[in-house]
Symmetry: C2
Subunit: 305 residues, 2 copies
């Protein structure tokens, strides 16, 4: 069975608050490591409904320095301090967010017992910004009214899956199992070489998630996110408001869908809805006309790439 890789939506509204939406925040659970993407106001309040453990947040990825993406950060960071966090937290984002973080820490939670390490992202480069055994995180340059950056999270291959009956058949001891999971063949006491593909099945295919918000359409996303399993792309406006999308450097439904289509994404998740839309089905319908595998984000949604 594939390991955990789940995105949970804590907020998918835009700047003006509505009764339906919180501002942008998502949590990615990849093999029980939690990565927070953006942190709009109320993120820590929404967190309480996830049932997830605050202290498992290892990284926070921030897209840009607009309030609806970062005003929840001070509350979340100070609460983690109050709850006794000691392990370091890595925050990635455009460099202009560092001053904000440092100011808020100095004025409101200077006494926390954990280290906040800020890593400035070059928002003009598509680059690998982090990797460990489970994942790679890549930056995705976006076009907004100030430096802005999306993120592509790619699973790394798991180990091969053991075929229990073959292990038993050849009487392979426990100490050898990890090597076999890693792809090694097995040599019996008689010198017979049992090829690994008789002993294991291939690992589950690796999956990927792209987060693209806030942005005008960036055609390079289709190349950087080629074949992505799930793409979140902002669709702030319906087509009738396309002039506003241009004015405020946002995307329309069809633009988001066109990016997903040309990237050969498996599925598209749209969000960051302008507060003007009472009923978002219009947005869904417009996007689906271009890319049928489109889903509307909503608070509480849990989705696997």
């Amino acid at each position: 069975m594939a390991q955990k890789f789940e995105i949970q939506i804590l907020g998918c509204g835009s700047a003006l608050p509505t009764r339906k939406h919180f501002p942008t925040c998502q949590v990615v659970n990849l093999r029980d490591k939690l990565i927070l993407i953006d942190c709009g106001e109320g993120a820590q309040l929404q967190w309480r409904y996830t049932g997830l453990n605050w202290q498992r947040i290892t990284h926070i990825l921030l897209s840009h320095a607009h309030g609806d993406h970062v005003f929840g950060l001070p509350g979340l960071l100070s609460t983690m301090g109050l709850l006794g966090r000691t392990q370091p937290l890595f925050i990635h984002g455009p460099s202009n967010l560092q001053t904000y973080l440092e100011f808020m820490k100095a004025h409101f939670f200077a006494d926390i017992d954990y280290e906040i390490q800020f890593h400035a992202i070059d928002t003009t480069q598509h680059a690998l910004i982090f990797q460990d055994r489970s994942m790679e995180i890549w930056s995705l340059p976006l076009k907004h009214r100030l430096p802005c950056c999306g993120y592509l999270i790619k699973e790394k291959p798991e180990q091969r899956h053991i075929r229990r009956e073959m292990i038993d058949f050849y009487g392979i001891p426990l100490w050898a199992i990890n090597n076999i999971k890693a792809g090694q063949d097995w040599t019996t006491a008689e010198g017979e070489i049992i090829p690994n593909n008789l002993l294991t099945t291939p690992p589950s295919p690796v999956r990927s998630y792209a987060y693209c918000s806030d942005t005008s359409p960036v055609m390079e996303l289709t190349k950087w996110c080629e074949g992505v399993d799930l793409m979140y792309h902002e669709a702030t406006y319906a087509e009738t408001e396309s002039s506003l999308a241009v004015k405020y450097s946002h995307s329309t439904t069809r633009q988001a869908a066109q990016i997903a289509k040309e990237a050969h994404a498996k599925r598209l998740l749209i969000g960051h809805y302008s507060s003007r839309y009472e009923n978002e089905n219009l947005l869904l319908q417009e996007a689906q006309e271009v890319f049928s595998d489109t889903i509307l984000a909503h608070e509480g949604l849990r989705i696997t790439p």
Copy 2:
């Protein structure tokens, strides 16, 4: 009929978020002028449920520079800008909040079209900090881990109520009505003086609201708030946690109730509950043992002094 004077609770939790409570925020509606008291994270999200008009907020009163009382401010201020506010906004609070406001404005909403006037409160003085035709606002020095200040809002007397039948009887013209409401007698064409108390009934009694949070017990409050109609006093802890109340400069239920009792308050509203209490009825019960007219605050509560 008495004019509007209503307090609405937007949040009455403390620093750690719970599923039940938002951090502290209240709105006072006094004759359709709105005064916000404290502005914890999510205040602008809660505002949407009040049905009140953002632009009628004339003053924001801040108690102290702890996140659970001010992290909702940047979102609220920038949203009012996005919604086209032009009239100035007056923010009162301890002087250390001015840097915070200025930093956030410069970094996140420098382009708003309204002026924010910050007035630093001397948190050691009980003083009149604002008055207009409808109200007086007084500061209430509190004792917390940093400069902290409560507020006493007193209605000013309304005009006297006209006795319609007497006005008709004496054929008093429209132009004279305002003077009569203000207390003047009426002289008939024959020179007869009709005393004002035949023409009017007294105005409704003036009401008052005291906001006392966060604080250790401050005995002077009983003098400053003598006879107050409604006192909000924090009751972060039950009696069993009284050592924590001392440690963190908060009050217990009984301490809050004792202050209300000695101030001869008509009613006490408690809030700022520690997140440890699943069921706040224990807090209510403890307070009521000292002061029976105690009410538990909860989000959405609307109460008239």
